[in-house]
Assembly symmetry: C2
Homo-oligomer: 420 residues x 2
C-alpha cells in the first residue's frame, strides 16, 4: 500500500468505529457536543485567528487572488457566526430513530421504517474554513462520523477549528474520531479517500466544477454532489406582468454568484410586452443582457447583445443574463430539458393548466410556480441547515439537510410469526 | 469508440428519449401496456416456448448444470405466472406524481416533494428469462425506461419476451424504447453499459456474487445492489422457548437457497435449554449443524460438527446452519456487527429493553423482533412486487419495490414571492 492508502486506512478504521458509537448516541449528547463546540470556538478564538493568520500569510506569499483570500479570511465576527451555526444545528430536531409508516400486514407482523445515520461521510471542500465546522456539525447531529478534507490553503485554520470540535466531542462523552481532519496537504490523500469504499459510505464534494469532476471520475464511493446551477425562469403568456418583473429581477440580481440564481430567462411570445421593462430593469441593475434575435428586435433602444449558442449552457454566476423569446409553452419546456442543469426552474403564470404541466414536466431538483428561483435553499425550505444542494437523482435531490445525511432501515415487530 | 460503445450510445439515446415520454405517461396508459403485455405473452406462448427450446438445446449442448437449466426453462405454467405478475403490477398504485409533506413556509411559499421516475434503469441479470418481464414491468409502471441485459444462455427467450412487452407499449401509445433488450451476447456490451453514465441513471444487477462484484468494480453509473444474505436469529435469555424453536426452524428451513434464510443462530447462554430441541429439529429436517464448543457440549448425543472460523461468514444458501452460544446481549450484537452482511437479523425475546435495543443497535436493512427472517420480502412488506433487495445504504435499503425505482423533486407554489 502507498503511504496515502495506509493513512486513509487508519482514518477509515477510526471513523467506522466512531460511527458505531455515534449511531447510538442520544440526542442530548450530540446537542451538548455542538453547544460545547460553539463555546470552545469562542473561547479559543485567539488560537483560531492565529492559525488563520498563518494561512493568510501563505496566501499572500502565494499570490492568491482577492476573492479566494476573502473566502479564507476569518475574523471575530465570522467565527462567532460559525459558532452560532453550531448552536442552530443543536436546536434542530434529531432525525435519527424516527419511525414512520408502521403498519400491520396480513401476516400479523407490523412493518415500518426507522431513520438511521448513513455511517461514515467524507467531505472534500475548498478554501472556506467555516465548512470544517458546518459540515462536521451536520454529520455529528445526524449521527454520522465525518472525514474532512479541506483545501490546503486553509490547513491551519481547519486544524484549529477541528481541534475545537474534537475537544467538544470528548467533553460530551462522544468519540473524538467522529470528526477527523485529513491533516496533510498531500493530494494523494484525496485519491485514497475516493478509493476507501471499505470505510466510507458516501463522499460529498463541495467546491468548484474541477473538484466535482475529479471526484466523479475517481470515486469508488457513492457521491452526493452539486454540479451546475443553470436555472431558468419562464414567463408564460398568462403571467402577471408585475409579478414577472419582480421574480425575474429577484432571481437574477438578488445575488449573482449563487447556484440558484437565474441564468436564462424565457419569455412567451405573447408576453412580449414584459420584455422591455424587464430588460430595462436588468440593465439598470448593471446586468449584461444577451438575447435572441426576437428580443433584440423588441428592445432596439436598449443595449442587448446577441446571445451565441454557448450562452444557453453557461452558468454565468455573474451579472449576465441570457434571454430568449419562445413560441409556446412546449418550446420553453424543451429549452429547459436541453440546457438546464436540473437544479431549479420557475414558471410565472396565472394559468392553471400551464402551471400544473410545468410542475409535472420539468425534471429539475426544484420546480416552482410563481416564486423566485432563489428560494431553492435548505433554510427557505425549512431544513434548518444544508450541507449543499444535490443535482443527483438518487438518494437525495435539491437542498440536503440532516435527513439527507440519514437513511432508513426496515423494522418488524412480530409475536412469533413464521412464513407459511 | 468501440463497437460496443457505439451500440450502447444508440440504446442510451433511445432510452433517454423514451424516459422523457414515460415520465409523463398517465397511469392508465402504463397499466394498459402491462395488461396488454400479459395478454400478448399468453397469445404468443408458442413463439416464446419455441425460443426457449432453442436456449434449452444450447444449454444441453454446452453441458449446463441441472439447476441452471431449471432456471432457464419456461413452460406454459411459468409463462402464465409471468403474465399474471404483469397484471399484478398493473393493479398496484402508481407512485409517480404523488405529492407529500406540502407545507407553508414563513416566506409564504408552499413547499413539498413530488415523486418522479429515476429515468433510465439498466438491469443486468443472469439465466432466468422471467426477469426480462418482471424487471421491465416494474420499470414501466414506475415511469422509467429500462435497458435489459440478460444472460447469454437465455438470449432467445429474452428476445421473445421483450418483443411481447415492446408490442404492448406500442399498442398502448407508449414508446417501445421504454424497454430495450441488449440483443447480443457480446460481453463487451456489459462493460459499455456500466460506463454509460451519460445515459443511464442507475444499474441494478441481479445475480450471483461474481456478477455483482464485476458491476461494483467497473460501474461509473450508481448501482443498487444485493450482495450477501448472512442473516442471524438471536435467541435472547428471555425468549419464549416455543417461539424460539418455531422462528429458528422457519428462518432456516422454510427455503434454503434464499437470501433471507438464517445462516447463523445465536443463543444466549441462559437460553441454553432451547438449544437441544432446536438442534434436534434442524437435524430432523436434514440440516447440517455446525456449532461452537459450548453448543457441542450441550448436544453431545447429537451430530453437531465443529464450526470453523470461516463458518461465521459463510452464506450457505443450503441446509447448513452455524450455531453459537453467546455470553450476553452485547456479544450477540457484536457478533452480528462483525459477521452480518447487513441484510436481515431477528431477535427472539419477551424482554422489552432487549428488543428495543436490538432494533436500534443492529444496523441491517431489516431488523426484526419475534418474527422469522423470511419476512424480509417486498410482498410480505406490502410493496406489491420487488425488483430485488438492496444491501446498500443509500437511496433504498431492503426490499425494493416501485417506490425504490423513483426519486423525488421539490415543488414550490408561490404567488409572486421573492427573496428578501
Amino acid at each position: 500500500m502507498t503511504d496515502a492508502a495506509t493513512i486513509m486506512q487508519a482514518l477509515g478504521k477510526h471513523a467506522k468505529e466512531a460511527a458505531k458509537a455515534m449511531r447510538m448516541a442520544d440526542t442530548c449528547a450530540k446537542n451538548d457536543a455542538l453547544t460545547r463546540a460553539a463555546a470552545i470556538m469562542r473561547r479559543d478564538m485567539p488560537e483560531i485567528l492565529a492559525a488563520n493568520a498563518m494561512d493568510m500569510q501563505a496566501a499572500e506569499a502565494n499570490g492568491l487572488e482577492a476573492a479566494l483570500k476573502d473566502r479564507l479570511l476569518l475574523n471575530a465576527e465570522r467565527i462567532d457566526a460559525v459558532a452560532e451555526g453550531l448552536e442552530q444545528i443543536a436546536a434542530l430536531p434529531d432525525p435519527v430513530g424516527a419511525i414512520d409508516n408502521l403498519r400491520y400486514r396480513p401476516s400479523g407482523i407490523q412493518v415500518g421504517h426507522m431513520r438511521v445515520p448513513i455511517g461514515v461521510i467524507g467531505i472534500i471542500y475548498e478554501s472556506r474554513p467555516n465548512v470544517t465546522a458546518d459540515a462536521a456539525a451536520l454529520c455529528l447531529k445526524s449521527g454520522n462520523a465525518a472525514i474532512l478534507r479541506g483545501g490546503s490553503e486553509a490547513i491551519h485554520s481547519n486544524r484549529a477549528i477541528a481541534a475545537c470540535l474534537r475537544r467538544a466531542l470528548v467533553d460530551s462523552g462522544l468519540p473524538q474520531n467522529a470528526i477527523q481532519l485529513i491533516d496533510s496537504t498531500d493530494r494523494a490523500l484525496v485519491g485514497a479517500l475516493l478509493k476507501s469504499d471499505a470505510y466510507v459510505d458516501v463522499i460529498i464534494p463541495r467546491g468548484g466544477k474541477s473538484l466535482i469532476k475529479r471526484v466523479m471520475a475517481d470515486s469508488r464511493v457513492p457521491v452526493i454532489k452539486h454540479l451546475d446551477g443553470i436555472c431558468h425562469v419562464y414567463i408564460d403568456a398568462d403571467a402577471d406582468a408585475d409579478m414577472a418583473l419582480n421574480i425575474a429581477v429577484n432571481a437574477k440580481t438578488h445575488r449573482y454568484g449563487v447556484c440558484n440564481a437565474m441564468e436564462t430567462l424565457l419569455i412567451h411570445q405573447h408576453a412580449a410586452a414584459v420584455t422591455a421593462p424587464i430588460v430595462q430593469a436588468m440593465i439598470d441593475k448593471g446586468v449584461e443582457v444577451r438575447g435572441c434575435d426576437k428580443i433584440r428586435a423588441l428592445t432596439q433602444n436598449l443595449n442587448v447583445k446577441a446571445a451565441t449558442a454557448d450562452d444557453w449552457s453557461m452558468e454565468y454566476l455573474a451579472a449576465v443574463l441570457s434571454v430568449r423569446i419562445v413560441d409556446d409553452f412546449e418550446q420553453a419546456v424543451e429549452h429547459i430539458a436541453e440546457f438546464s442543469s436540473g437544479h431549479t426552474e420557475s414558471i410565472v403564470t396565472e394559468n392553471y393548466a400551464a402551471g400544473q404541466r410545468f410542475l409535472r414536466e420539468v425534471d429539475s431538483s426544484s420546480v416552482m410556480w410563481n416564486a423566485s428561483t432563489r428560494f431553492a435553499d435548505g433554510f427557505e425550505y425549512g431544513l434548518g441547515a444544508e450541507i449543499g444542494i444535490s443535482t443527483d437523482r438518487l438518494h437525495v435531490r435539491g437542498p440536503v439537510g440532516l435527513e439527507g445525511l440519514t437513511t432508513q432501515k426496515w423494522i418488524v415487530f412480530g409475536n412469533g410469526q413464521i412464513r407459511q
